[in-house]
C-alpha cells in the first residue's frame, strides 16, 4: 500500500520513530504480543476481524492504538451495506477499541461524527499522502483538454462505467479517453466501450507516467475515502473532475471540478466542458498542493506527540492476502 510505504520512508516521519510494518492474514485471530510504543492499524474492519482486534487490545492495554480508516465512508454504506444498523454497530464497537481513529479526508471525518460512529474527540483527520515531487515535475498541459484519463483499479467503486457511457455520447473525434488500470470490471468496460476507437485501455502504468500522458483526469467514483489519484493529478497541474462524493470533496479546495449528479448526462456535459477549457485561463484554486506532504507529516507528529507521550517506535498493521 502506497501510503504505508510513504509513512515508512517520509523523512519527517521516520526521523522520530522506527516503523515496523506487519501484514496480517485475513481471518487470522491471533497477532500475538508486539513490542511497540504505538500500534497503528490500517486493517479493514469487519465482524471477522473483531476477535483479533479484541485480542490485540487485551494484550496491549496500555499501548496507544490508532486506527486509520481507509475503507468506510458514507458512499460505501450507501452502495454496499444492506443492514445499516448492523454495520453501524460494527464500526462503533470496533472503533471503541482504539484510542484514536484517523479519517483520511475531512468529508469522511465529518461523516464519522454525524453518523455517530465516534465522538469528535476520538477523531483525527489526516488526509492521505504520498511523495508528490515526481508529479510536480510533470510538464504542464498548454492546450485545451484532448485526452481524458481514468486511472485506478477497474472496479465498480471507481464508477468508470459512467465515464465510458458518457464519453460514448460525445461527438468530438479529437477527444480520447484513456483508461489506466486492471481489474474485474475490465470486460464489462470493454463491452461498454464497444467499437469507439477513441476509448483506449492502457493496462497498468506507473502513476506518474499515466498522468503525464493525459490532459485531464476524471474520477466518477461511487465511494472514495480520499482518492490519492486526485492529488497526484492536481500536483501535475492536470484538470480534475470528481464525483464530489465522500473524500473527493476534499479536493475542491485544491481545484477539482465537481460533477454533482452521478449520471451519464452530467458526465457528458463535464467532458464537453473539459474539452473547451483553456487551462491557462482558469481561476486559482483556493489551496495549493505544495504543502500536502508537510501537512501530512505535521498532523502525524502532533497526533503522536499530543495524545501520547514521546514514542520511539510504531507498528503499522496491514492486512495482506
Amino acid at each position: 500500500m502506497r501510503v504505508l510505504d510513504y509513512i515508512k520512508t517520509a523523512p519527517a516521519l521516520s526521523q522520530n520513530a522506527i516503523h515496523h510494518i506487519r501484514g496480517i492474514q485475513r481471518g487470522k485471530f491471533w497477532v500475538g504480543r508486539v513490542k511497540a510504543d504505538i500500534i497503528v492499524s490500517h486493517l479493514a474492519i469487519s465482524w471477522g476481524a473483531m476477535p483479533m482486534l479484541v485480542a490485540l487490545r487485551r494484550l496491549h492495554p496500555l499501548v496507544p492504538m490508532i486506527h486509520i480508516e481507509h475503507s468506510y465512508t458514507a458512499g460505501f454504506v450507501q452502495e454496499n451495506v444492506t443492514n445499516a444498523v448492523r454495520f453501524a454497530t460494527l464500526l462503533k464497537t470496533a472503533y471503541r477499541l482504539f484510542n484514536k481513529v484517523v479519517a483520511v479526508s475531512h468529508a469522511q471525518g465529518a461523516w464519522f461524527v454525524q453518523s455517530g460512529a465516534m465522538s469528535q474527540d476520538k477523531l483525527a483527520v489526516i488526509q492521505s499522502c504520498v511523495d508528490l515531487s515526481a508529479f510536480r515535475a510533470v510538464a504542464p498541459v498548454k492546450h485545451p483538454v484532448r485526452v481524458i484519463g481514468a486511472i485506478g483499479r477497474l472496479d465498480r467503486q471507481k464508477g468508470f462505467h459512467l465515464l465510458v457511457q458518457a464519453f460514448r455520447t460525445t461527438l468530438d473525434p479529437s477527444l480520447a479517453l484513456h483508461i489506466y488500470g486492471e481489474g474485474s470490471e475490465e470486460r464489462a468496460l470493454r463491452l461498454l466501450a464497444g467499437n469507439d476507437a477513441r476509448i483506449k485501455f492502457m493496462g497498468w502504468a506507473d502513476p506518474v507516467q499515466a498522468i503525464a500522458n493525459v490532459d485531464a483526469v476524471a474520477m466518477p467514483s461511487l465511494w472514495e475515502a480520499y482518492g490519492l489519484v486526485a492529488i497526484e493529478a492536481l500536483s501535475a497541474g492536470r484538470q480534475l473532475s470528481v464525483s464530489g462524493i465522500d473524500g473527493l470533496a476534499d479536493h475542491v479546495a485544491l481545484g477539482a471540478h465537481v460533477v454533482t449528479e452521478p449520471t451519464v448526462e452530467a458526465w457528458r456535459k463535464e467532458i464537453e466542458t473539459l474539452a473547451r477549457i483553456d487551462p491557462t485561463q482558469l481561476p486559482q484554486p483556493l489551496q495549493s498542493c505544495d504543502r500536502l506532504e508537510a501537512v501530512f507529516a505535521s498532523r502525524w507528529q502532533s497526533l503522536i506527540t499530543e495524545g501520547f507521550r514521546a514514542s520511539s517506535g510504531a507498528l503499522d498493521l496491514q492486512r495482506c492476502g
Binding site: 475531512h106 471525518g109 470533496a249 454533482t260 486559482q284 495549493s288 505544495d290 505535521s298 499530543e306
Partner: protein
C-alpha cells in the same frame, strides 16, 4: 518556549503607529518579534517605524502598496514564530495579551486560531464603554460565517501550522505564498477564517478577556457599504464550491447579519436613509438575527427608522435611554 511573531500592517498610520508598537513591546511574554509591514505609506509612517529599529525585537519591511491582505502575507512570509499574532497599526494590545494566547495555544493543541474580545477606543485612545464580546467556545463554520467571532484584525494569534494548511501560490505570484486573498480589499478576514474552518480541522477558540483595544474612527464608515457588501458576496461565490450545502443553508441568515452590521455602521454615520434600507434588506433576507439576537436586532432596526424619520436628535435621546442597559457591542 514558543517563539511568537506579531505582524503590524501599516498604511499611512503616522498618528497611531508609535502607540501601537509601544504597546506590543510592553508585552509580558518573551520571546517574540514585531514585524512592521509598511504597505507603501506616503506619510511619516516609515520614519516612525524606523524609530523602533534600535530594539532587536523589531523588524521593518517596506513594500509597494498591496492592501491589508498583502501586507499580512508579507509579514507571515518573514515571520519566524511558531505562533503569529496580528495587530493593526491603530489598535492596542494589553500587556498580557501575547502571554495569554501563547498559553492557550500551548495547552490546547487542537486550537489553531486563538482570539479574544476587544474593548473599543476612540481617536484619543479613550475607552468608549463598548466592547466586542464574541462567542468563545464551540465555534463552528456556521458561527464564523454568521457572526465572525474574531471581530477585528487585531484580536487573533494563529498557529503557524494552521496557516501553512491554507497557503497557496497564485500563478501571478512569484515571491511568496498567500494566506489571505489579496484580491479582496474588504472581507479578507472573514474569507480567510471561513476557508480555514471549512478546509481544515483547526479549532477556533477565544479566551474570555478583552485583551485588544480596537479603535473606532467616526465618519466615512458607511460610504463604502456597497463595496463592502459586494466583497462579501464575492467571498460566498468564491467559497461556495467547497461546500454548496453549507452555503445554501446558511447564506440567508449570514447575509441578514451582514446587512444588519452595515446598517449599524450607517447609523453610526448618521446616514438614516441608507441605514433603513439596509435594515429592511436584512429583515427581508432572514428573520434569524431577530430570533437569535432579538435585542440587538430590534435596537438596530428602531435606530435606523428613528434616524430616518425623526433625525439625529431622536437617536441621541434613544442612546441616552439605552445607556444604562449597557447593551454591549456596537460593532459586529
Amino acid at each position: 518556549m514558543t517563539f511568537a511573531s506579531i505582524i503590524v500592517p501599516a498604511f499611512n498610520v503616522e498618528a497611531t503607529l508609535r502607540e501601537t508598537v509601544k504597546a506590543l513591546l510592553a508585552q509580558t511574554y518573551a520571546p517574540f518579534e514585531v514585524i512592521i509591514v509598511d504597505d507603501g505609506s506616503s506619510d511619516k509612517t516609515p520614519r516612525i517605524a524606523a524609530e523602533f529599529l534600535d530594539d532587536p525585537r523589531v523588524r521593518v519591511v517596506r513594500r509597494a502598496n498591496r492592501g491589508l491582505a498583502g501586507a499580512r502575507n508579507t509579514g507571515i512570509s518573514l515571520a519566524r514564530g511558531e505562533v503569529i499574532g496580528f495587530c493593526d497599526a491603530d489598535d492596542l494590545w494589553l500587556p498580557e495579551k501575547l502571554a495569554r494566547h501563547v498559553h492557550h495555544l500551548e495547552v490546547n493543541p487542537h486550537v489553531g486560531v486563538s482570539y479574544s474580545g476587544s474593548a473599543l477606543i476612540d481617536g484619543q485612545s479613550a475607552l468608549t464603554g463598548h466592547a466586542q464580546r464574541p462567542r468563545l467556545k464551540g465555534v463552528s463554520p456556521t458561527h464564523i460565517f454568521k457572526r465572525n467571532p474574531i471581530g477585528n484584525g487585531s484580536a487573533m494569534v494563529i498557529r503557524r501550522a494552521a496557516l501553512n494548511e491554507i497557503a497557496y501560490r497564485p500563478r501571478s505570484e512569484t515571491h511568496r505564498d498567500w494566506y489571505f486573498d489579496e484580491t479582496f480589499r474588504q472581507s479578507e478576514d472573514i474569507e480567510c477564517w471561513l476557508r480555514m474552518s471549512l478546509t481544515t480541522e483547526w479549532v477556533f477558540e477565544g479566551i474570555p478577556e478583552l485583551l485588544t483595544q480596537y479603535r473606532i474612527n467616526s465618519g466615512g464608515l458607511s460610504a463604502n457599504t456597497d463595496r463592502q457588501l459586494a466583497a462579501w458576496e464575492r467571498m460566498i461565490e468564491k467559497l461556495s464550491p467547497l461546500n454548496p450545502a453549507f452555503f445554501k443553508v446558511n447564506t440567508p441568515a449570514a447575509r441578514a447579519y451582514q446587512l444588519r452590521y452595515l446598517s449599524r455602521r450607517a447609523v453610526s454615520d448618521m446616514d438614516g436613509a441608507r441605514a433603513l434600507n439596509l435594515s429592511r434588506a436584512s429583515l427581508a433576507q432572514s428573520k434569524i438575527p431577530l430570533i437569535e439576537e432579538p435585542v440587538k436586532s430590534v435596537i438596530t432596526f428602531v435606530a435606523a427608522a428613528a434616524l430616518h424619520f425623526f433625525g439625529p436628535k431622536s437617536l441621541k435621546t434613544m442612546m441616552r435611554l439605552k445607556a444604562p442597559a449597557r447593551v454591549s457591542g456596537t460593532v459586529q
